[in-house]
Amino acid sequence: MRVSFKLNGRPVEVDVAPNELLINVLRDKLKLTGTKYGCGIGECGACTVLVDGKPVLSCLTLAVDVNGREVVTVEGVSEDGNPTPVQRALVEEGAIQCGYCTPGFVMVGEYLRSKKRAYSEEEIRSLIRGNLCRCTGYVNIVKALAKALGGG
C-alpha cells in the first residue's frame, strides 16, 4: 500500500505492507533513527512520536494508519535547528545518561509544551509514567521538564 503523510513538516510517500509498524518504516525506510525501539509492547515509551500533534507509540501503530496524517519525530521538533526549551532543559539538568529513552521524553515534553499551560511537578511525574528510564532515576528528568513546562 502506498501511504503519504507529512513527516517533520515535509510530505513523504512510501510503500508499506499492512503489517509494517510505523517505527520500522521511520527507522529503516526513512532512515530517521532518533525514534528508539524499546519494549515493543507499549510499556517503555522510547518509540513515542507525535501523530497529529499527540504522543503515540510508533511500535503499536500501523504505518498505513498515518496515511494523510502529520507525524513529528525527535528529528523534527526544532523549527530552527536549535534545541527546543524541552531539549535544552534536559541537557542543562543532566537528565540524559545513556540517552536511549530521551527521544521519548522529548516527544512527551513537546506535546505538553504545545498545550501552552504550566504543569506542576506532580502532574509531570504522572504524565511521564509511560516513559521508562533505567539510568537516571527520573529526578533530573522531572527537574528538566518542570523547568521547561513549569511556567515558573
Binding site: 503489517n19 520500522n24 515493543g40 509492547i41 515509551g45 513515542t48 499527540k54 503515540v56 507509540l57
Partner: protein, 299 residues
C-alpha cells in the same frame, strides 16, 4: 511451560494479515459479517497489536475502524452520557463533563500512561474483556449499557450482562460496539485501584456509587475488577450497605460479604487469598471516598 512468552517473541514485527479500512459504519458491518470470526477490529491497538506480537492472537483479517467518521464523541444528552466507539481515554481526560461521573474520572486518571490514553479507546477496553479492565467497575456502578451494531440491526446490552469470561463477551463476531451509554445519577461515586505501579494491571479494583442522607447510605452500588473471571457487581454487599452509617464501627467487618462475592485467582500479581481480603478494603476505601465527595470534599 515457557517462563515468559515475550522473551521468545519478536515484538519488533507483526505477523501478516489482510487489511481493511472501511470508510463508513455500514461498510464495516458488512465486512465483519462477511469475514466473521477470522477478523479482529482495530481501534486503539494497544491490546490487539500486543496480543498479535506475543502470539496470543493471530487474526487473518484486520478491520481498522479508525477512518469511520462520527464514532468519536462524548455527549451528555437527556441525562445519559454517550461515548462513541472511537473515543479515547485521553478524550475523556480532557472533557470536563466526565467529572460528573467521579468514579469514571478516577479510572481515566489512573489508566496507563499518557501514550496509552492517547491511543486506547474505552470501548476497546470493554471489548478486550480483561477481568482487570479499568473501565468496567465505574461503568457497572452507573448501570451503563453498550450498543452493539451488526448488519441485522442494533441491540442494547447491559454492561453487567456483557462480560462472559476472561477475554469473552456476548458480542457476536459480526457485531461492533458502537456506543457506551452511562446514565447520570445524583449520588456520589469513586473508583480505587490497587496496583504495583499505575502502569501495571490492577491487583484488584473497586467502584462504589452511593446516595447519602447525612451519614446514612440510602442507595449503594458496588463493582469490582480483577477478582473474578469478569468484572462483577457485588449485590449482597450493596444490600448490606443500605441503611448503614459510613462512620459505623465494624463496617469494614460487615464488608466481609465482598470477600464472599469475589472469586479470585492466584497469579503473578497477587494470591487469591490476598485479593479476597483486599477487595473489601478497596470497597471500604471507595465508599469513604464517595462519601467525602458527597460532602463537597476533594477526596
Amino acid at each position: 511451560m515457557r517462563p515468559s512468552a515475550i522473551n521468545y517473541m519478536n515484538t519488533h514485527i507483526l505477523p501478516s494479515f489482510e487489511y481493511y479500512e472501511p470508510k463508513s459504519l455500514g461498510e464495516a458491518l458488512e465486512l465483519l459479517d462477511r469475514l466473521g470470526g477470522d477478523a479482529k477490529v482495530l481501534a486503539g491497538g494497544t491490546d490487539l497489536l500486543v496480543k498479535m506480537k506475543t502470539g496470543a492472537l493471530r487474526p487473518k483479517y484486520i478491520v481498522n475502524i479508525k477512518r469511520i467518521p462520527g464514532l468519536r464523541y462524548i455527549r451528555l444528552e437527556e441525562g445519559v452520557l454517550r461515548i462513541g466507539a472511537l473515543t479515547t481515554w485521553h478524550d475523556l481526560e480532557e472533557d470536563p463533563v466526565v467529572e460528573r461521573f467521579p468514579a469514571l474520572a478516577d479510572a481515566v486518571k489512573q489508566m496507563g500512561g499518557l501514550q496509552i490514553r492517547v491511543m486506547g479507546t474505552i470501548a476497546g477496553n470493554l471489548c478486550n474483556a480483561s477481568p482487570a479492565a479499568d473501565a468496567a467497575p465505574p461503568l457497572l456502578v452507573y448501570d451503563a449499557e453498550v450498543v452493539l451494531a451488526s448488519v441485522k440491526g442494533v441491540r442494547t446490552v447491559k454492561l453487567e450482562d456483557f462480560f462472559v469470561g476472561p477475554g469473552k463477551t456476548v458480542m457476536q463476531p459480526n457485531e461492533l460496539l458502537v456506543e457506551i451509554r452511562v446514565p447520570a445519577k445524583g449520588g456520589s461515586s469513586a473508583f480505587v485501584k490497587l496496583s504495583r505501579t499505575s502502569m501495571d494491571l490492577a491487583i484488584a479494583s473497586a467502584a462504589v456509587y452511593a446516595e447519602f442522607e447525612g451519614e446514612v447510605v440510602k442507595e449503594a452500588r458496588v463493582a469490582l475488577g480483577s477478582v473474578a473471571p469478569t468484572p462483577i457487581r457485588a449485590r449482597k454487599t450493596e444490600a448490606v450497605l443500605k441503611g448503614r452509617r459510613v462512620s459505623e464501627e465494624g463496617l469494614i467487618e460487615l464488608l466481609r460479604t465482598v470477600s464472599e462475592e469475589v472469586n479470585p485467582i492466584t497469579d503473578v500479581r497477587a494470591s487469591a487469598w490476598y485479593r479476597r481480603e483486599v477487595s473489601r478494603v478497596l470497597v471500604y476505601d471507595a465508599l469513604l471516598k464517595a462519601f467525602e465527595r458527597s460532602r463537597g470534599g476533594r477526596a
